[in-house]
């Protein structure tokens, strides 16, 4: 009782402090904005921060109009050369060319003012297409929550179905609220211009430390509670899209720790994942932080690249799953005293597992292609097909590998893990590789996941659903594969580095691979530490694991009060195996 009181007060204090501080800091904006709808300029903060556009009426204009090759319609004058620059003949030549083009544009614009006006509409339409794309693909990824819920519940026993489903259900609002309160601000507070959606650049505060003359972005600090600089329509679209990615990470550990994790312990984890566990590494890769800066700082390719989240989403989830499954201990009766797996715990509903896998595969069409944040970036077709190919080759590779070399039967649960492994692995490289590359990445993923599943059982880490093998191991593989298979057809300008992304097999050398290796290693170390911390805090507050009596009875009634299947016997094999003396 006391523990519950302390937990609630602590949580409320944290949330209260955050909301009060951000409301106070942005109060001038909010109040002024409400009072003066006609004069938003007067409501702007004293600094030169960009003005947010919550109404969406000032987003998208001529500056956004560009052709297929990303050549802008509006040609602006180049920045003036410094005295040093003037000594460089190349820079002077480039400046002269750019100035000439700008002057020509200005002259043409004077002759055809109607064309310039039309460009405003064209630019707005382009931005609108990108908003639509980002939001709709975000909705697809949200639907993946249902996929995860079905996969996990189907792979566990019927007596725990209500509890497993509830964890996958509650992680959606819990993660979302954490991300809304401060997670998004930490991860994207320093994101800079949201280029594909109108260029709003109000998320411009990245806490940066300087080491030996190089900037190391550490954490964002803007956009708390989507107020002030965060209350902009493009920022909101970015928030929705990124939130559903965060929730994908958040739901992964629930599978590994299923059938023995207290619901109260899970809820506290739910507070931590969206607020701090996910955003830190996320900022370093996607928020403009130091892992992204490995390219501009140290010439390591384009820095740690991760197009749609093999490391940011899946490996983060997999590492948390690993730590939690390891610390919470295996389900009772599965391993004997010597650690040998003596009693496999069978899934209670294979159709549910496979339906869930299909829902995930479908949602992945939002996950990967959506990460362009632009429906006008026609690479989306390549990304989508690469996703489809990798998932398929992985599923086939897993099935044949298990069937011919491992268990002599094509195990449906492994088929599903296989497809998901391929999808996880292609998530990072999807935009940078060819179909052949995607196929190979999928095949490797399909075999890796099988070996990983067997490995973790061998070292007595009971992963109820294969989450660590699917998301952790293949998230890592996915990122490393960029360093090998990126074929130089896409990626110019990513992380501030010119040129397309090239991996080892396409003449790009090893630099990109090193950047990826640093990234995945950082992911492993950081998330291990964060997970250890959270696990031990929760252990002190409410304890993580249910009692053996609850585990034997099944968590549905003791933890949730409602059985998953009332009056219907869904699972005759639900008994917890008892060890022989």
């Amino acid at each position: 009782m006391i523990k519950k009181l302390i937990t609630s007060i602590a949580a409320l204090t944290v949330f209260g402090a955050l909301s009060l501080s951000s409301v106070h800091a942005q109060s001038t904006n909010a109040m002024a904005g409400m009072a003066m709808t006609n004069a938003p300029e007067a409501a702007a903060p004293a600094s030169t921060d960009p003005v947010p556009d919550p109404g969406g009426i000032k987003t998208g204009a001529a500056g956004d109009a560009q052709d297929a090759g990303a050549t802008h319609f509006v040609v602006s004058a180049p920045a003036d050369l410094s005295d040093d620059d003037k000594k460089d003949t190349n820079k002077v030549a480039a400046y002269t060319d750019a100035k000439k083009a700008a002057d020509e544009y200005t002259a043409q614009a004077k002759l055809e003012p109607l064309a310039v006006k039309l460009a405003d509409t064209v630019g707005h339409n382009r931005v609108a297409v990108n908003f639509m794309w980002t939001l709709v693909t975000g909705f697809l990824v949200m639907f993946m929550q249902a996929g995860f819920a079905l996969v996990e519940t189907g792979l566990c026993r019927a007596k725990n179905s209500s509890h497993t489903m509830a964890m996958n259900f509650m992680i959606y609002p819990m993660g979302m609220l954490g991300f809304y309160l401060c997670g998004f601000a930490f991860m994207f507070g320093g994101f800079g211009a949201i280029g594909t959606m109108g260029g709003y650049a109000g998320l411009n505060h990245e806490i940066t430390i300087n080491i030996a003359g190089h900037p190391f972005g550490i954490l964002g600090w803007k956009g708390f509670l989507l107020q002030g600089a965060g209350y902009d329509t493009a920022a909101f679209a970015l928030f929705l899209f990124q939130m559903v990615f965060m929730d994908t990470t958040a739901t992964i550990p629930t599978g590994a720790a299923a059938e023995r994790w207290k619901f109260s312990a899970f809820m506290i984890y739910g507070c931590a994942i969206g607020t701090i566990m996910y955003p830190v590494f996320g900022n370093w890769v996607w928020g403009g932080g130091w892992l992204a800066q490995l390219g501009t700082n140290f010439g390591l390719g384009h820095g740690h690249l991760d197009f749609a989240g093999s490391s940011v989403v899946h490996m983060q989830g997999g590492v948390i799953a690993l730590i939690f499954a390891w610390l919470i201990g295996p389900r009772h009766g599965k391993y004997d005293k010597n650690g040998k797996l003596v009693h496999p715990i069978l899934p209670h509903n294979i159709p549910m597992v496979m339906l869930g896998t299909f829902i995930l595969a479908f949602g992945w069409f939002g996950f990967n292609p959506g990460s362009t944040l632009a429906g006008t970036d026609l690479r989306i077709a390549v990304i989508a097909v690469n996703t489809m190919i990798a998932g398929s080759t992985a599923a086939l590779a897993t099935t044949l590998y298990v069937w011919w070399f491992k268990t002599k039967k094509p195990d449906p649960s492994m088929m599903c893990n296989g497809m998901l492994a391929g999808l996880v692995a292609i998530t990072a490289p999807c935009a940078f590789v060819s179909a052949g590359g995607a196929a190979i990445i999928g095949i490797v993923a399909g075999i890796l996941v099988v070996e990983a599943v067997f490995f973790f059982d061998k070292i007595r880490i009971d992963d109820a659903v294969g989450a660590i093998s699917v998301h952790g191991v293949n998230g890592c593989w996915g990122c490393l594969s960029i360093g090998l298979f990126a074929d130089g057809t896409y990626g110019d300008g990513f992380n501030g580095v010119a040129g397309n992304v090239k991996g080892l097999f396409y003449g790009g050398g090893l630099n990109q691979f090193w950047a990826e290796l640093i990234g995945v290693t950082t992911c492993f170390v950081t998330l291990s530490l964060l997970s250890l911390f959270v696990y031990f805090v929760v252990e002190k507050l409410v304890g993580n694991r249910v009692s053996i009596e609850v585990e034997i009875e099944g968590l549905d009634i003791p933890e949730m009060g409602v059985p998953g299947y009332s009056g219907v016997q869904m699972d005759k094999e639900s008994e917890t195996p008892m060890l022989k003396a």
Binding site: V342, H343, D457, K572
Partner: protein, 112 residues
């Protein structure tokens, strides 16, 4: 009065029910059970680990009938339920002390 308890393979239930119907026995109670006899279980593999399936699903059929019908009923069940392969099941016959039809409160053989 005797009770016949027959443990049979689940897919044989319809055949046995029809066979009993043909000799005039219209009432029975059926439960789903698990069991094994001298036939051992078999081994399966799930995600790389072996597990043995000892218990097999069976159907237990219970019929209470007058003494003079037992032999005919037993013969009918055996004929309908037999496949010739192991696991066909068993029949047990016990004596019943009394029976009551709840609706009419008739007792004894009249209740059957």
């Amino acid at each position: 009065m005797k009770k016949i308890e027959a443990i049979i393979k689940p897919f044989k239930l319809e055949e046995v029910k029809d066979a009993l119907g043909e000799i005039g026995i219209e009432g029975m109670t059926v439960t789903e059970v698990k069991g094994f006899g001298r036939q051992k279980g078999h081994t399966e593999i799930y995600r790389g680990s072996e597990y043995t399936v000892d218990f097999l699903p069976k159907i237990k059929l219970e019929v209470v009938l007058p003494n003079d019908r037992v032999e005919a009923a037993t013969a009918a069940i055996v004929k309908a339920a037999k496949t010739g392969k192991i696991g066909d099941g068993k029949i047990f016959v016990t004596t019943i002390d009394d029976s009551v039809r709840i609706r009419t409160e008739e007792k004894g053989d009249k209740a059957l």
